[in-house]
């Protein structure tokens, strides 16, 4: 049967909110750029989860289509982001974001 009837939409919402908050706090507290990237991925996937859940709840597949797009874009973002990190590492020898202050106004 429909998986929603066994678990319930509220739980999905709670889970995804928890995941999003974990990601957000990870982003704020950690200084290592790779960990921050991972936090961002968690946040993205929390949103994806919610999208899929609601898509199933409303019996409207377009939400799931959106998820595919999100994943594709996220993959592209990671590719670019990691490339930037590699070049940052080559320049300053570490990837602590506190050392990236060249943009100071």
């Amino acid at each position: 049967m429909n998986i929603l009837e066994q678990v319930g939409i509220e739980n999905y919402i709670t889970l995804s909110a928890l995941l999003f908050c974990i990601g957000a706090f990870g982003l704020l507290y950690r200084r290592n750029a790779i960990i921050m990237f991972m936090s961002i991925e968690i946040m993205l996937n929390a949103v994806n989860l919610l999208l899929v859940a609601f898509s199933s709840y409303h019996e409207d597949p377009s939400g799931q289509v959106f998820v595919f797009f999100t994943m594709a874009v996220a993959a592209a973002e990671v590719a670019v982001g990691l490339a930037i990190l590699v070049s940052v590492f080559r320049n300053i020898g570490n990837i602590d974001i506190d050392n990236l202050k060249n943009l100071k106004g």
Partner: protein
Amino acid sequence: MNTTILLLLFAPLVGFLINTFFGKSLGKTISGVIGTTAIVVSFLCTISLFSQINTDGKEITFHLADWFSIGSIQVNFSFLFDQLSVLWLLFVTGIGALIHLYSISYMHEDENMHKFFSYLNLFVFFMIALVAGSNLLIMFIGWEGVGLCSYLLIGFWYKNQDYNDAAKKAFIMNRIGDLGFLIGIFILGFHFQTLEFLEIKDLLGKDLITPSLLSIAALCLFIGACGKSAQLPLATWLPDAMAGPTPVSALIHAATMVTAGIFMITRMNFLFDVCHEVQNVIAIVGAITAIVAASIGLVQNDIKKVLAYSTVSQLGLMFLALGLGAYEVAVFHVITHAFFKACLFLGSGSVIHALHGEQDMKNMGGLRKVMPITFWTMMISTLAISGIFPFSGFWSKDEILMTAFHNNIPLWIIGSIASIMTAFYMFRLMYLTFFNDFRGTDEQKHHLHESPALITIPLVILATLAAIGGAISLPGNSWLNHYLAPLFAHKSHEAHTLGTTEYTLMAVATLGALLGIAIAYSKYLKKKEIPVADSEVQGLHKVLSNKYYLDEIYVAIIVKPIYIISSFAKKYVEKFISNAVIGLGGATYALSLKGKKIQNGNIGVYLFAFIFGMVGFLVYVFIIRDVK
């Protein structure tokens, strides 16, 4: 025919372009020859047009291009060649060509000779546009163009700040008049829905609904003419304009440009004919200018200044004739004046040339023997301007005085006194310059010489014209009046039939001139008086040599108040505005100093602000607002 007209219009422009872009590399003589050739071409074309119009008497309208149309007003680049404009072009291009020829020699030592010729060519081009334009706007283009060239040429020796000031003065004075002219054009355009001379003339024949509006328009046009033709109260620029090279004074400030005001009024004669109050104003202003300028001319010591005041005075006489409705008489005097005044200016240029720039008559004298050609040509022109029979000035001045006598005796008296003064100061000039002993330095005396042929040939031609020019309009048998008759609506003033009155008037005028000459003779030739320096003169003499303090009065009533207002504005208004602006800038700067601390380059802080901002926003949208 179209080719002739195109050549006539654009030959000077082509000369201007060549001299502007290639003049320096072509060398002085060639650039002078090109400039002169351009004007000669125009002159030849004018002769062919003139002979055609003189035979069949039909005007030619030449449409060059459309310009613009607003509402029902259509303005085109079109030109009107009728008796008046072709006659005017004839002496503009003719005298222009002679003066160009003269300048080849006169300006040969100047490093910017090509520039001089390009300006002169441009001037003639605009003058042709002014004279030949078939509507008021084309005339206005020419009007402004000649003003520009006048400015450029007065300030031609731009390294002297006095000359630059004189150029600016001429330009600003003219601007005042031009504003009047422009307003006049607007009123006429508004009233008639056209700017074409011939159409206005036709319409004016049909309706006379708002003569007061027309009077205002005519008065505005007259203000424009005042500025351009140096009439009081806008006259003071012309004497200062003598700062320009002498050929410029001869061409622009004696023979052609300053007569533009008279041309314009003659062109619009159908308008002035219906505005009698304005005609009275013109006559009175002309008479006052004639006598005021002549009296100032009595005591000037600069040879060119004397001629400048004489020009203003003669222009005043022409305006007197215009105001009395005797347009053909004014035109006659314009023509004879162009001959003898151009000759006088060129002659004074020849003298100045021989003395290496000396213009003060106190340091001249005795030049008769060394410069015979210059002396005799100037003598003929002096006799002409003084009104001695049978030289040209006698006939034209006499016509003006006769017209004045028949219309208004006081004006006749003023004009006659101005004529006596003219005879006096012109002979004073001749005696001081050419008679007695030379008063300059030995160095100058050593270098005295007659000028070269390029200078003397134009002098001889102009002196000949000054001598015989009166033949075009002899009393009783006037070719000029007959030729111009189609232009004037009213029955042309018949050249006065010769009765006892006329002979008496002629005798009186001649006696007056002889009186002026006699005074000058006894004072400057027999007693050998030398005028004292301007700083030592006393009484009335002092008032005259300070030009009735006209410049000082203008400074006191116009320039000073403006300075006071502007220094007030600078002190308070300017301070307030600039402080407000500076304060605003300062506040922004101080704020941004604080604000820039937010942007400290720390990515952690950015993220923190970003997330909490977003959370705060969501809290507001979904919780706080919903609760409300």
